[in-house]
């Protein structure tokens, strides 16, 4: 029961961060929120007992955040309008 409520809270946080990352105008804030989304996914995988998947997700989250920010530097403006 305790684990179920923990997973429910993490799922709600994932939905909130994912939706916010879609609708924010500032692209840097979107990237950081996407990184938070990935981190909540890591915690859910750990709670469900899949440390291997969680490890992969953590590593891929860090790498993709770096790539997104490196790509953001190439854009003229940091906003999607």
């Amino acid at each position: 029961m305790k684990e179920l409520s923990l997973i429910a809270v993490l799922l709600v946080l994932m939905v909130v961060t994912g939706t916010l990352a879609l609708f924010l105008k500032d692209l840097l804030a979107s990237i950081i929120l996407f990184s938070a989304f990935s981190f909540f996914a890591v915690l859910i995988y750990l709670a469900l007992g899949a440390p291997d998947v969680a490890f992969t997700e953590a590593v891929v989250g860090v790498v993709s955040t770096t790539f997104f920010i490196a790509a953001l530097r190439r854009l003229k403006r940091g906003c999607s309008r």
């Binding site: 291997d52 790498v63 770096t66 790539f67 490196a70």
Partner: protein
């Protein structure tokens, strides 16, 4: 990144952090069959160590692999994977059937050795691919 933006704090943190990342990557690679992890995760950790150096110290980083070298290394990693697979076929086995190696050891040990060789190839390929993507994203172009 082409120009560095590191201060002395970032530089010192980098010097203390990167050896631990490299050792952890090696641990993840070597203990892939007993604990979570494997070739992909180890390669991503090595790639993160190199990308961190590029971010903090710029082009003249201590630990640097250029984009062209990275693409060659990715090819070498894929070649290691395929070579071990074909090598087992030369010893009358199927593709990647590690038990076919004519080594004087137990079947499980031969499997562990073959899987370790495959994972080394995957590690080199993933590390080099991450560095190549990062280099392509941050390359300065003339226009």
């Amino acid at each position: 990144m082409n120009r560095k933006f590191g201060t002395i704090i970032l530089d010192t943190a980098f010097r203390y952090l990167v050896p631990f990342i490299l050792v952890f990557g090696m641990y993840v690679l070597m203990h892939g069959e007993y604990s979570p992890g494997g070739g992909f995760q180890a390669g991503a950790l090595f790639g993160i160590a190199v990308v961190l150096g590029r971010l903090i110290q710029g082009e003249e980083a201590m630990l640097n692999i250029s984009g062209n070298t990275a693409i060659i290394l990715a090819g070498i990693g894929t070649f290691i994977y395929g070579f071990i697979g074909v090598l087992t076929m030369l010893f009358n086995g199927n593709f990647l059937e590690y038990g076919a190696f004519p080594l004087n050891m137990a079947e499980a040990d031969r499997h562990a050795l073959g899987i370790l060789g495959i994972e080394i190839g995957v590690t080199i390929c993933v590390m080099a691919t991450i560095i190549a993507i990062f280099d392509a994203l941050t390359r300065r172009e003339e226009w």
